[in-house]
């Protein structure tokens, strides 16, 4: 991966925070799916 060059702190923050927000969305959806996957067999037992 080619190292990115940031000329200002603003550019750096924009880049990293943009990715952070995208990952937050991915995390929320994945964690919901993960919980459903983990609990998938619970009802069958009851």
């Amino acid at each position: 991966m080619e190292e990115a060059i940031y000329y200002t702190l603003q550019e750096y923050q924009n880049f990293t925070k943009d990715w952070a927000y995208i990952f937050m969305g991915v995390t929320v959806v994945t964690m919901l799916g993960w919980w459903l996957f983990l609990s998938g067999q619970d009802e069958d037992e009851e």
Partner: protein, 390 residues
């Protein structure tokens, strides 16, 4: 094999493989202790100005504390969240935590020296601006809380009914203290490494490192309870009563599910560390390989294995996964405190533990095993005392 515990009659043979091996290790350990306290750190360690902390801190302290987290997680699940089906796991978990913390303090003597000054940071000269002070204070307070939480077992053994009943009434408040102190203490161990932005590899250094330490301690503790229960089932099966054996599956599946959930969260918050610090470029390096091994091999993979084990009700898989997770926590704490630390130094200046340092660590772990075996074969740890059955 009977499902009822067999009380210790005191007539067990003295010459057993366990006793022989542990006796040899203890004798070597006593000799190494003599060398350490007469010859100083240089006589038994490879520590130097670049590495003032070695495996005694990495393993005995950082791993010991993380793996003792089963005490607060199990007690909180049972008494704070009211999940009573985990009750049978509380006493073994509290005993493991108590011994874990006691051995942390014991092992710290080898690093610090001058045991008679152990109480100085608390009672004589408090360094209130230091994170180490918080660590010391939390260890001191939490060890006391764990001792009090563990106390009903020896009191039942000694038939001190009144005092035992008073201690039982304090269970909830002690559990709450324990959770608060653990939260502070687990995270402050991570906070120690906030001091080292220039010495630690960027993949492990983060301003969120206290959170990483705390969150990872939760699944470390849960996994350690499953792991310890596996060993107890193997070696101390005859000491368990029906309630304990029956509750064992609830604990295994419940804790595996909780650990899988927390590990997924941990995986993502570690990923946020990479994202927010723009560390993508480091992933394609040697240290990146170690980081990926830690995150994929010892976090993501065990989380998937736990989930699969819970869904298919596979106890064996979960028990193996617990062992891998415990190993993963050891790997992580070593990575933070030794591998990522001073990563810029040339390899000839890097630290590798002296054989005597490893010997002292094995000695400390062996002491823990001996005391655990002594207590759990005599006191009501793996069974309910007949006088106090519900």
């Amino acid at each position: 094999m009977s499902n009822q515990h067999q009380p210790d009659t005191g007539k067990s043979p003295w010459i057993t493989p366990f006793n022989v091996v542990t006796s040899i290790i203890v004798l070597i350990g006593i000799y190494l202790t003599y060398l350490r306290f007469t010859g100083g750190l240089a006589a038994v360690t490879n520590l130097d100005d670049n590495y003032p902390w070695g495996i005694w801190i990495s393993f005995d302290l950082l791993c010991g504390v993380a793996l003792a987290a089963g005490g607060y997680t199990t007690a909180a699940a049972c008494y704070v969240f009211g999940i009573k089906k985990y009750h049978s796991a509380v006493r073994p978990a509290v005993l493991t935590a108590f011994l874990g913390y006691a051995l942390v303090v014991f092992a710290l003597h080898y690093d610090v020296g001058q045991p008679w000054r152990l109480a100085y940071p608390i009672f004589v000269q408090q360094g209130t601006t230091s994170v180490l002070f918080e660590v010391g204070l939390c260890v001191f307070l939490y060890l006391t809380v764990l001792f009090l939480e563990w106390l009903p077992a020896p009191l039942e053994w000694l038939k001190m009914k009144r005092l035992r009943n008073i201690m039982i009434k304090l269970t909830l408040v002690l559990t709450i203290f324990g959770v608060i102190l653990s939260t502070m203490h687990q995270s402050s161990l991570g906070a120690l490494y906030l001091l080292l932005p220039s010495k630690m590899h960027p993949l492990w250094y983060s301003t969120h490192i206290p959170i990483y330490f705390f969150v990872s301690s939760m699944f470390a503790g849960l996994s350690m309870v499953i792991f310890e229960s596996t060993l107890s089932h193997r070696w101390l099966h005859h000491k368990m009563d029906k309630a304990h054996l029956k509750g064992s599956d609830h604990v295994t599946f419940g804790f595996a599910k909780a650990a899988a959930w927390i590990m997924a969260g941990y995986f993502f918050i570690k990923l946020f560390g990479v994202v927010l610090n723009d560390n993508w470029g480091y992933l394609n390096t040697f240290y990146g390989g170690i980081f990926m091994l830690e995150m994929l091999g010892f976090v993501a993979l065990p989380a998937l294995m736990y989930a699969h084990g819970v869904r298919t009700r596979n106890t064996k898989l979960i028990r193996w996964t617990a062992a891998i997770t415990v190993l993963g926590i050891v790997f992580n704490r070593f990575n933070v405190s030794l591998v990522a630390y001073n990563y810029h130094l040339p390899s000839e200046q890097k630290y590798f533990p002296h054989i005597y340092e490893i010997g002292v660590t094995i000695f400390v772990v062996t002491l823990g095993l001996i005391v655990f075996k002594f207590i759990s074969t005599r006191m009501p740890i793996l069974y309910d005392h007949p006088d106090y059955k519900h």
